[in-house]
Symmetry: C2
Subunit: 244 residues, 2 copies
DNA sequence: CGCGGACTTGAAGGTATTCAACATGCGTGG
DNA sequence: CCACGCATGTTGAATACCTTCAAGTCCGCG
């Protein structure tokens, strides 16, 4: 049985462990409670008692925090195959909010489901922990970018990372990718103002590195952009399953 | 049997699950390979093939990334009970480095140990995943701070969070805590220069909020500082075990 | 005693923000 | 159908925050 039949989530996990039929079946059983959510709706909110997490099967979502003074910081964007709110389910109280950027489709995963999966198929526990680690690695890279890169490098690096992630699920290439993010969302992700995001994008465009226009990110000179941003995709790549 | 007998790691996990004797024994078995490391030594490095993670049992450590241009971003500091390199063991390649800030004591945990623990005691898998989630929540809060708080608020929030974490393991209070971090380390953690850290600390001292001097952080007005920094410890608190 | 690491302070400069104005495109209702 | 509102994108000018560069202090230690 192909690991790819059950959608992007199985596809993602199968990069870490080779899924047995039993394990595939257990994963498939997680997709019982499907929901469609329109663009711009909160999936869940910061502070909410969250017993459920979700697996995103279609569309883009965005996890963010609202600070005391009302400022928003986008922590990460989620694309198909990613978890929504995995931390929340384990922390009992959500430390962040998630909003749909486009129309999305999700499967609800209860804490009890997750614990059941862990007991019946411990290898899947490792796979889920791996997926969580990979997500955290991206958050950490994001942290480093905000802390230590200037606005232009930060944007360049961010666009390259997003492109690499999307390539892994067949939604992007070295040419570019469709991107539904507004300059406001980009600003809140990169710790900038929307005004400055605009200037930075102009600069990257004028230097012939990357052009963002009409919902499409076009890499005009992938090599030079990679060089400029100091982008190293090692933390995203998974050469093969670690557990056979 | 008290959950506290086996050191800060068991103490931390027992905030999430009530440990059975069998589970405590399994945890204790993880502390077979103990190592002492002098201050200022790398425990492991970014890019290294890391089969092993560590549990910190004494002292302070610091995880960081080095960017292309040589700039350092400190991701988090670790105090007793915290994991070192859990992500690395699951990602196979470490995405960050860890250095000892003080003399430290660690226990090595192999990937095979961890998988064994998951198979024998699935509830511990959940507990470990919870601990990882809690650590990630701190990284996310850190990200939000760097992205959306100015230098003074950022520093205030950081010191409050550190104080709260240390209080949980009995190493701090609302009065203050011992802190071995230099202004250079603080700068690299907060995405500032050491020079500006110095000015920010002076400002916080002059406003009677918090004073950092001779390795001790003294909260001079905890209430007002909390208010000023917009500090909400919800994501650190765990009212009681989620799994009995 | 001299050296290095950590800390401190001033002055100048650059990056990103703030404020303000305007352009563009899309959907909705008059 | 066109007017209008609203979200998004664009650009300029003034300002603020933080960095950079530079100089110097303090202290522990070989």
């Amino acid at each position: 049985m192909s690991d790819f039949e059950h959608g992007p989530f199985s596809r993602k996990l199968s990069a870490f462990i080779t899924l047995s039929e039993a394990e595939s079946a257990v994963l498939a059983s997680l997709h019982q409670r499907r929901r469609k959510i329109a663009a711009g709706r909160d999936v869940f909110q910061q502070g909410q008692l969250g017993q459920a997490a979700y697996v995103l099967s279609a569309g883009w979502a965005c996890s963010y925090k609202i600070l005391q003074d009302g400022e928003r910081q986008v922590v990460d964007f989620q694309v198909p195959g990613d978890f929504l709110g995995l931390r929340s389910v384990l922390l009992h109280v959500s430390d962040h909010s998630v909003v749909s950027v486009t129309d999305i489709e999700v499967s609800e995963v209860l804490l009890s489901d997750l614990l059941g999966v862990f007991e019946r198929t411990p290898r899947l526990a490792a796979a889920v922990l791996w997926a969580a680690s990979r997500d955290e690695a991206m958050v950490v890279e994001h942290l480093a970018g905000i802390g230590r890169r200037n606005a232009v490098e930060r944007m360049a690096h961010f666009l390259l990372e997003l492109g690499a992630r999307l390539s892994l699920v067949g939604m992007g290439s070295r040419a570019g990718f469709d991107c539904p993010l507004t300059q406001y969302l980009l600003a809140d992700a990169l710790g900038l103002t929307a005004v400055h995001v605009n200037r930075v994008l102009r600069q990257l465009r004028e230097e012939g590195l990357v052009a963002v226009k009409d919902g499409y990110v076009a890499f005009e000179d992938y090599e030079r952009l990679t060089e400029f941003a100091g982008f190293d995709p090692a933390y995203l790549d998974q050469p093969g399953p670690l557990l056979k």
